[in-house]
């Protein structure tokens, strides 16, 4: 029997969730006409929603930190030998815990919106009501089907441990950050519903909404980046993006959100594209939900699958279906009345943004299709099919090509009626500089392929043109500084594409069966296999191979890849050894030892990785700058 303390904790935590449930139910009163205009105690109530969930979550954290195996969740996912940080992150490294975190973040956004909102009262109330509806739904799901506070029937002094691959600092913070992204779009969704219900999708609505889109977008981008970086240094496959279904599940809302970010600019400036903005708002949040559903239901094979539990999947599908049918139903009836048309020329900022949306959403469609196609084929034809990375690369490449071009020129086209000649004048110098650079680099590195030169030219154009406009702006006054964020993000994107292509083209890999004293060569680098160490870590034993990178017979760097053997649960992992160089990374991974005296290793040379991370950093900082600017005004 679980101890009394645990019973109390479980009861109190569940009670807190019920409080949250009740307050959320009460907040939904704003949906009723009678209460829609009330300027009541929404701040207090949102605070209660937030703090009650927070306390429930803290109780769960406490259970994990104290290795309280009376809790089923702690028993299944933790172990006394786990380092403290991973006991903590074990809280959300499972289905129930991450669901509770999802709920907590819902309440966090609800709370911050309540205290910050400067929207019209009726609008604000509906937004809070919708958030509360979402909170209600998720808390119900949690309490009914996925409670983290269920107690064990028996006494257990030790837990079942956690997959050692998940015991990693980056992976510990990746879910929370990603969830701030996913869940942030719940508020965007609430804005959309409220706007539709009140027929208030206008400039003020757009202005109030935009910062929230930015915040969620920044978190989502950062979350995706962290996941990719983790995959790079942990999985040992040399890559950082595999078009894995769950990776795709995070990319899809990102694409939709980016399209929304641009679309809402038109709404703000020229009071157009109302229904499209609403559609994207609903779509982005739906994709966040779909991402959750795909992960948790286990209908896709992926390294991420938490629980192959069709029962849970069914509930989420039901929840998703209700949310979507309700919102798209509302959209069907209200959509046309929302739309206000304004005029714009074929060559204008507006049409440029339409092109942006068109390209981004085509990529979104491709990612979606590729991800669910195997399911589709399995269902209809009962055959198994693999949609690998090549599919995505081949289909998306031409679109990225167009994206580079339009991202470069559109910021220089005026609103309503732009002029091609004017635009050309503005980008004249940066284009010439880019072309020169492209040719110079091609000549210097002996690149003769036209495709390579074009790619260089286009990416440089984007980077340089964006940076130029940013530099001009920062000389003038603060009002114009608003575009600094945008220029940095756009330049970052250009750098990203360039680095990714360069990295893919020039990466090298060699596999060796190495005996001690062997010399391994790749790309002009010489490695000497020095020795094998046996290491004892906190909760593992490992075999470590030592390789010395030599230049002119002097040891310049040491690489120590390991194979680690964990006890609970019994698993073996391969730890990479990476040298992060300025222009190139060197990456050594050990395969499980085959013979006593020789081991199989892979050596990767991965150029431009730093530039990839830098470019993503630029994209994120651009977003942050935009948020800061908005808050200051």
């Amino acid at each position: 029997m679980a101890g009394t303390m645990s019973e109390i904790l479980s009861f109190v935590a569940t009670f807190f969730l019920i409080i949250c449930f009740s307050v959320s139910l009460f907040q939904m009163r704003y949906f009723i006409r009678k209460y829609e205009g009330i300027n009541g105690n929404h701040v207090l109530l949102s605070t209660i929603q937030f703090t009650s969930c927070l306390f429930a979550f803290l109780i769960l954290i406490y259970a994990f930190l104290t290795s309280n195996f009376d809790f089923q969740l702690v028993y299944s996912n933790s172990h006394t030998d786990k380092p403290l940080l991973y006991k903590l992150s074990g809280t959300w490294g499972n289905h129930e815990g991450s669901l509770l975190m999802w709920i907590l973040i819902l309440t966090i956004f609800n709370f911050f919106y309540s205290i910050k909102s400067s929207s019209d009262i009726k609008l604000r109330n509906k937004i809070i009501a919708n958030q509360s509806l979402l909170i209600l739904g998720f808390v119900s799901f949690c309490l009914l089907m996925s409670s983290p506070f269920i107690l064990m029937k028996g006494n257990f002094s030790q837990g079942l441990g956690l997959n050692p691959i998940l015991q990693d600092p980056l992976l510990a913070i990746h879910p929370p950050i990603l969830y701030f992204g996913y869940v942030g779009f719940s508020l965007v969704f609430s804005f959309a519903i409220a706007g539709m219900l009140n027929n208030q999708v206008n400039k003020e609505w757009a202005s109030a909404l935009k910062p929230w889109i930015l915040i969620a977008w920044v978190f989502l981008t950062l979350g995706i980046a962290l996941g990719s970086f983790w995959a790079y240094y942990e999985l040992g496959w040399g890559g950082f993006w595999f078009w894995d279904p769950v990776e795709n599940a995070s990319l899809m809302p990102w694409l939709s959100a980016t399209a929304l970010l641009h679309c809402i600019m038109v709404l703000e400036k020229r009071n157009m594209f109302q229904s499209w903005t609403i559609l994207l708002s609903i779509l982005t949040f739906s994709l966040s939900l779909v991402g959750t559903f795909l992960v948790r239901s286990g209908i896709l094979n992926s390294v991420h699958t938490f629980a192959s539990d069709p029962g849970r999947g069914l509930f989420i599908l039901l929840f998703l279906a209700i949310v979507l049918l309700f919102s798209f139903g509302l959209f069907a009836s209200k959509g046309s009345s929302l739309e206000k048309s304004n005029s714009f020329a074929a060559v204008s900022r507006e049409s440029g943004i339409l092109v942006n949306n068109w390209l981004l959403l085509t990529i979104l469609f491709i990612v979606f299709l590729g991800t669910i196609y195997p399911l589709f084929i399995d269902l209809i034809f009962e055959k198994s099919l693999t949609v690998g990375p090549q599919y995505y690369v081949v289909t998306i490449a031409p679109i990225v090509f167009l994206l580079l071009i339009f991202m470069t020129i559109t910021p220089f086209i005026s609103w309503a009626k732009g002029s091609i000649s004017q635009t050309i004048i503005k980008i004249k110098y940066s284009s010439i500089l880019s072309l020169t650079l492209a040719f110079a680099i091609s000549l210097y590195f002996d690149l003769f392929s036209i495709t390579q030169i074009i790619i260089l030219f286009l990416s440089f154009s984007l980077i340089i043109t964006s940076l130029f406009s940013g530099i001009q702006v920062s000389k003038s006054n603060i009002i114009v500084k608003s575009i600094l964020g945008k220029t940095l993000s756009h330049a970052g994107f250009g750098l990203f594409i360039l680095s990714v292509i360069a990295n893919a083209t020039y990466s090298e890999e060699k596999i060796y069966d190495a005996k001690i004293k062997d010399i391994l060569e790749i790309n002009g680098h010489k490695f000497v296999f020095e020795k094998i160490n046996h290491v004892e870590g906190e909760n593992y034993n490992s075999i470590q191979a030592v390789f010395n990178l030599q230049e002119d017979n002097k040891v310049v760097e040491q690489f120590m890849p390991e194979i680690r053997f964990y006890n609970d649960p019994p698993t073996a992992t391969s730890e990479t050894s990476i040298l992060y160089g300025l222009f190139s990374d060197i990456y050594i991974v050990m395969n499980v030892p085959q013979y006593q005296d020789s081991i199989s290793v892979r050596i990767h040379v991965k150029p431009f990785m730093n530039f990839i991370w830098l470019s993503v950093f630029m994209i994120i900082i651009g977003g942050v700058l935009s948020i800061i600017y908005r808050i200051k005004n």
Binding site: N301, A346, S351, L385, T386, V387, D513
Partner: protein, 127 residues
């Protein structure tokens, strides 16, 4: 049930030693082939990336067939006959995959049509 036994098989397969030391001498063509064949007992890895027993076996098979003068197409066809279409990382263009390859183009065109529509209807407002 089957998933558990596959996992057990997989873990066992990792720890078997049968000394395949040909890896560093693979030709570019062989390496490219390896990158196109899926490792069937791993989670979304190619046989190039995988170290599992089955991956090594299939690599050996491919090396043999390459030496015997078979074309890439023949080798892939052989593997598909034994293991099914899903052993290929990139889906081929056949009756099951028309939709997969053509739909993006269709959507692209539909999107373009939408824009034209929007622009022209907006121009009408202007006049």
């Amino acid at each position: 049930m089957r998933k558990i036994s596959l996992n057990i098989i997989f873990i066992l397969l990792i720890f078997q030693n049968f000394g395949y030391s040909l890896a560093s001498t693979d030709s570019k063509r062989e390496q490219n082939l390896f990158k196109e064949i899926r490792c069937l007992v791993c989670q979304s890895q190619t046989i190039h990336e995988s170290n599992s027993e089955l991956a090594e076996d299939i690599k050996l098979l491919i090396r043999e067939k390459v030496s015997a003068g078979k074309t890439d197409h023949e080798i892939k066809q052989f593997l598909v006959e034994k293991y099914g279409e899903w052993i290929l990382m990139t889906p081929r263009f056949n009756q099951h995959t028309y939709l997969l390859w053509i739909a993006p183009l269709i959507i692209f065109i539909i999107g373009f049509w939408f824009i034209l529509n929007k622009v022209s209807s907006s121009k009408q407002k202007e006049d």
